[in-house]
Structure formats: C-alpha cells, structure tokens
C-alpha cells in the first residue's frame, strides 16, 4: 500500500513538473513601428502564438501576417499585397533558444534579463538573430518582452521606387507575450 501511494505521488510530481516546463500563449502581441520621412507606420497583432520550454530554453513564435492591424486601411492593403505578400507568405516565425535559461529561477518572482538566439523567418527569408529581452516571472506566468530592429532589405522586402528614401529602411519590432503554464 505504501509503495503504491509512493508511486502515485511520484507520477503526479513528475506530471506536475513536466507541465510546469511548458508555457504558452495564443494571444501574444507583436507590433512594429517605423518613422520614415514620408510617414510613420505602426501595426499591431494580438493573435501571436508562442511557447517556451523553461527546461531546455526552446522558444517559438508564430504570427499570421494578415492579423496585423494598421491605423490606415490603405497601409494595411499595401503591407499585405506589395510588401510582405501575405498570400504567398502567410506567416512569420521565430524558432530559437533562451541561451541563459539556466540563470532564470522560474520558481521565484522577479525580472530577469534574457538573451535569445534563433532563426527569424519573414517573407520566406530566414535570418539568424540575437536579441535581448526580459522575463517577468509572477504567479500568473511569464511576461516576456523584447524590442529590436530589423532591416527590411534583409528579408527581401522591396520598397517601390516612388517611395524609396521616404519609408524607413529599418523597423522596430516590439514583442509582448504573457506565457501561462500549459495544462493538458
């Protein structure tokens, strides 16, 4: 009887630990901003999928390009049709690792600096990226935040000749995700 009880407790503890390693969200936010001579461009996406394995540090993001919302409908049309070609390349992804994951105590509330490395795919082009961000660990989960710049030319996104020099060649990307423990 004692052995059976011990086995059950061990299995439950293992399951609890396994579940606690995976944190997910399907409603993360990614926004981008650029301030060019012609106009400022800003868009938000609140439908971002993200998962983090706190044991291995593996982290993924996936976002549908047609979920980006712009202030101006015309900008949104141009973004989807002429710049990122959303019909041809419907999503962007990041697959990488939190390289300093062992330095983060996910059982202790607090703010931790994180270094993330991986592959970012936009417009069908994959580039290696190394960025910094923060994790705020709390009882609600892990609040991940990062802000970084990318050059749109790196992702083969061409700016029409008529507006070359009037639209910023780099855009600032902000990531804001509230990752919660995955319960099966």
């Amino acid at each position: 009887m004692k052995n059976t009880l011990l086995t059950i407790v061990t299995i439950l503890a293992f399951l609890f630990q396994s579940n606690a390693q995976q944190f997910i969200t399907k409603s993360g936010n990614i926004s981008f901003y650029s301030d060019g001579p012609l106009e400022k461009i800003e868009a938000h996406n609140n439908q971002v999928n993200s998962a983090l394995n706190t044991e291995s540090g593996d982290m993924v993001f996936k976002v549908l390009m047609k979920s980006f919302v712009f202030e101006k409908a015309l900008m949104q049309e141009h973004f989807n049709e002429n710049y990122v070609e959303s019909d041809k390349f419907p999503s962007s992804t990041f697959k990488g690792k939190v390289v300093n994951v062992k330095e983060i105590d996910f059982t202790k509330n607090g703010t931790y600096d994180v270094a993330i490395e991986g592959k970012l795919t936009i417009h069908g082009i994959t580039e290696d990226v190394k960025e910094k961000g923060t994790f705020e660990v709390s009882k609600e989960g892990i609040h991940g935040m990062a802000k970084f710049d990318i050059a749109i030319a790196d992702y083969n996104i061409s700016i029409p000749g008529a507006v070359t020099g009037k639209i910023a060649e780099e855009i600032e990307i902000s990531v804001n995700v509230m990752l919660k423990p995955y319960k099966k």
């Binding site: 997910i24 399907k26 998962a51 996936k62 979920s67 409908a73 999503s91 995955y182």
Partner: protein, 147 residues
C-alpha cells in the same frame, strides 16, 4: 478674362477636387466594416477547420482574407485584457486546444461572455488564416444563438 487664366483656374479646381477625393477616399479610406459586410462563405465551424487541416485551402476555395460566417457549438470563452475570444476546439497540440479562435469586436464582448457552451452560435468575422494550430477569425460579431 484671358483663356489661359480660365484653363489654369479650371485645372486648379479639378486638381483640388481630385486631391480631396484621394485624401478622404483613398489615403484615409476606412477599414471594411466586417460587422455589416455580407459573408463570402457560410459554413459550419467543423467544415471550416477541416478545410484548413486537410489542406483544401487553395486559390479556388480560399477562406483566408474573406468574411466567414460559421456556426457551431463553442467549447470555451477566453478573456484576454479587453478582448473576448470564442473558441471552437477540435483537437489538441503543443499550444493546447486547436480549432477556431474568434476574437470579438469590443461591442460584442458582453454577448460573447453570456453565450452558453452547450448551444450553437453563429459568428461572422474576418478570416486571417490558419497558423497550423488554429483558424483565426477577427472583428467577430454574434449573429444569433441557435438553440
């Protein structure tokens, strides 16, 4: 008045009208009102999910970028900040439940929070595609509850 002055005056008036039109109706044209838009497709939630999972979304029948009206029995309602999301789950994977996620217009949040999870509901929204786990519908409105 000399003829060339009349021509210039006419050109200025026509140009001004053109610029005003372009400013208001092209550059600053409003976003489509999905709540009032006529749906491009009316299907069941199951059909919609299976369409994407089976890889049937193609040029001939492409739901992405269209206004979809779906009917089905929701499995959960999520509240994220000020957004309500009605979920139709059909499967499970690395991100948890997989199915259709309908983000409601703020004006439909209250209705969304009051729907019953045992009753059919009809929802209309803009389909932004399938992210390999879920079909995403945005700016959704509840058409009616079908008991």
């Amino acid at each position: 008045m000399k003829n060339w002055l009349k021509v210039i005056g006419f050109a200025i008036i026509v140009g001004s009208i053109g610029l005003t039109y372009a400013w208001f109706f092209i550059y600053n044209k409003p976003h489509d009102d999905i709540e009032k838009a006529k749906p491009d497709y009316i299907i069941s939630a199951t059909e919609c999910y299976q369409h994407y999972v089976a890889g049937k979304n193609n040029e001939l029948e492409n739901y992405t970028g269209t206004v979809l009206q779906i009917v089905g029995v929701p499995t959960s309602i999520e509240k994220n900040d000020s957004l309500a999301v009605i979920v139709f789950a059909f499967d499970s994977g690395m991100y948890g439940d997989e199915g259709i996620r309908c983000t409601m217009l703020p004006s439909h949040n209250e209705k969304a929070n009051n729907i019953s999870l045992s009753e059919k509901v009809t929802i209309k929204g803009y389909c932004s595609g399938y992210n390999d786990t879920d079909v995403i519908l945005e700016q959704c409105s509840i058409i009616n509850n079908n008991n």
